[in-house]
């Protein structure tokens, strides 16, 4: 049996009950078994920090609203992850803010490289069955992208 890859942790974020926000949850469901440690968070924010345990690489999967057509897959290295409001999270704490806080408070547990796999969503005010068709179609692509990131190659050059 292959040992889990301790260098990478994958955190999928999103409310499983809400249309396009469930994208992260769907990816989480389809990723197992995953060679890296796989975690799920209903709502992002500061709770992300509790899941980081000193891995060198973090891959965050979340629904995003960056103004692209729904279903667009964004693979963003740290420098391109925008401040707050990209993923759905409470109190203005997005992936960027959470990691910035983590780097101040718990530097020893923070990853060197952070990559956001964002699935562009459109519908965030309806229940799960109203997931946008384009987002539904994008899930498999997102899963494949995360697998590629986890299996060597990780974050590409200079991520």
């Amino acid at each position: 049996m292959q040992l889990p890859d301790r260098r990478t942790v994958v955190v999928c974020i999103g409310n499983e009950l809400i249309a396009d926000d469930a994208a992260g949850y769907e990816v989480y469901q389809r990723l197992a078994p995953c060679p890296a440690r796989l975690e799920y968070l209903g709502v992002g924010g500061i709770d992300l920090l509790a899941l980081l345990d000193g891995e060198s690489d973090l891959v965050v999967v979340d629904a995003v609203q960056l103004g692209a057509p729904p279903g667009t897959l964004h693979v963003l290295p740290w420098r391109d992850i925008p401040a707050s409001g990209t993923g759905v999270s409470a109190h203005d704490v997005g992936v960027r803010e959470a990691i910035e806080i983590g780097r101040i408070l718990y530097p020893e547990r923070m990853p060197d490289r952070v990559t956001l796999v964002g699935i562009e969503g459109r519908c965030f005010n309806m229940t799960r069955k109203f997931m946008t068709a384009e987002v539904t179609k994008a899930i498999d692509g997102a899963v494949a992208t995360v697998r590629k990131l986890v299996q060597g190659g990780a974050h590409g050059q200079g991520g």
């Binding site: 209903g42 709502v43 500061i46 920090l49 509790a50 707050s84 409470a90 109190h91 203005d92 704490v93 803010e97 910035e100 806080i101 101040i104 408070l105 005010n125």
Partner: protein, 471 residues
């Protein structure tokens, strides 16, 4: 010449809101208020559901105070069925709730209000966020996050689930405490207690500094009003007890069981908002009143635990009794965190916690009213249940509705002292937002429709927009 300033929406409160400030030609304040433009309609959604499900469904009203709804619903169902849950169930419910209070107040003080306290009201908005607070005071942030996390873990272990708990049911709680869990819980509470002597002076220091930097906070931002809170065994209590109303001087004017709330609390529609405001109706007169941490201690004046009562004495020395100074809400939350930790310790020492936790429940048809003290104030659930156990009508009264009149008066005051004749628009907006956040209004609970507007400040003269500010 008329000038209107709109702050839209107020950031870092739950739900969405905008604020208007109307000035007359002379630059004097005409009126100010918080406009709530969302509609949830939860009371209608509940109709036709099985009463048994209320604790789980209503917990979903809010991700910030789910445990408050969870337990208010249980109290209402217990009353509807005419059952008294066993002592162990009450203790476990309370323990779950104390975890929730620790979690919620830590978030409220350090994350939602933190920027105002740590960075001051005049800081650049770009810094006034959680990353800014953490950078300014990392040691305090670490302790605050640790406390928050302990609260959350207690709530999760007793409530059976992370954010939205599931274990409390009509007639009690759906598990019996195991030795192993008891040990873990005790360890967490001990951990929290160790943090208190460091966290409390740090928060108090920030508060005193804020008062020094902004003398208007202590001198002018004072809103004398009636208060309402729950009292049990002559002390502050959160999930059981009678409601007591006090007047502006702190004299008790009424004490009643929650089933009588409709005699004392009167809801009315405000023409410019979707949120209904609630006032106390006593001796034929309507009184604006306050609920929440500060109101609770103004009403009960005692916690019954060592550290909380000592800190409360200090609170009275600095803020008076009853205290009506808006900014002291933060201090009140801190004292409730201290008390919650001590009370959790007490509960875990109770022998009764090991007993049976549930009695059978059957709904014969009838009404059930129940309440808890939510982090932000008194929360009432009122159900009409038929003989098949189906909810036929529901009424929920939440804290923010009851604080609504006082929030609006606080906005007027901060506008008066911090907005008018001051050219600094940023300080203006920060001050008004701050006075709203002291009440931590939870608009997603308090309202019923749909839609939000981009954040903007509109300044009008003579009905014409002369300037629009955006953040």
């Amino acid at each position: 010449m008329k000038k209107t300033l709109k702050i839209d929406p107020v950031t870092r409160i739950e739900g969405h809101a905008k604020v208007f400030i109307d000035l007359d030609a002379a630059g004097k304040l005409e009126s100010a208020g918080l406009v709530v433009n969302e509609l949830r309609g939860f009371e209608k959604i509940l109709i036709g559901m099985e009463a048994d499900r209320m604790p789980h469904v209503t917990a979903r009203i809010c991700g910030v105070c789910p445990t408050a709804h969870h337990l208010a619903a249980c109290n209402a169902l217990d009353n509807a069925a005419g059952v008294a849950p066993p002592p162990a169930a009450l203790l476990l419910r309370e323990l779950m709730y104390l975890g929730h209070i620790i979690h919620s107040h830590s978030l409220s003080i350090f994350v939602l209000q933190g920027p105002d306290l740590v960075l001051g009201l005049d800081a650049e908005p770009g810094q006034r966020n959680i990353v800014g607070i953490v950078a300014a005071n990392p040691e305090l942030a670490k302790m605050a996050l640790a406390l928050r996390s302990i609260g959350q873990r207690i709530n999760e272990m007793v409530g059976g689930r992370g954010t939205h708990p599931v274990t409390s049911v009509a007639g009690g709680i759906a598990f019996v405490l195991e030795k192993e869990k008891h040990k873990v819980l005790k360890g967490w509470v001990a951990e929290a207690k160790k943090l208190l002597p460091k966290v409390a002076p740090a928060v108090k220091g920030l508060l005193l500094k804020a008062l020094q930097d902004h003398p208007a906070m202590a001198a002018d931002w004072v809103v004398p009003s009636w208060g309402l809170g729950t009292v049990h065994e002559d002390r502050v209590s959160l999930i059981q007890g009678k409601l007591r109303a006090i007047d502006e001087q702190g004299a008790a004017r009424a004490e009643f069981g929650v089933e009588e709330y409709h005699r004392y609390l009167q809801e009315s529609v405000v023409e410019w908002s979707y949120m209904k405001k609630v006032r106390l109706n006593l001796d034929g007169e309507l009184h604006d009143y306050r609920v929440g941490p500060m109101a609770r201690m103004n009403v009960a004046r005692r916690f019954g635990t060592e550290l909380a009562d000592a800190e409360y004495a200090e609170f009275c020395r600095l803020g008076g009794t009853p205290c009506h100074t808006t900014v002291f809400q933060t201090y009140a939350k801190l004292i409730e965190i201290i008390w919650a930790v001590e009370r959790a310790e007490e509960i875990l020492r109770e022998k009764e916690i090991w007993g049976e936790t549930r009695v059978p429940v059957r709904f014969q048809g009838g009404r059930g009213v129940g309440h808890v003290e939510a982090p932000r104030g008194t929360l009432i659930h009122d159900y009409q249940i038929d003989d098949q156990g189906i909810v036929r009508s529901a009424n929920l009264i939440v804290a923010t509705q009851q604080n609504y009149s006082i929030i609006n008066r606080s906005i007027e005051q901060s506008a008066q002292s911090h907005v008018i004749d001051r050219p600094n628009d940023q300080a203006l907006m920060n001050a008004v937002e701050f006075s709203i956040r002291c009440y931590d209004p939870c608009l997603s609970c308090a309202t019923h429709a749909v839609g939000r507007m981009p954040m903007q400040v509109i300044i009008r003269k003579d009905g014409e927009t002369v300037r629009t500010l955006r953040r």
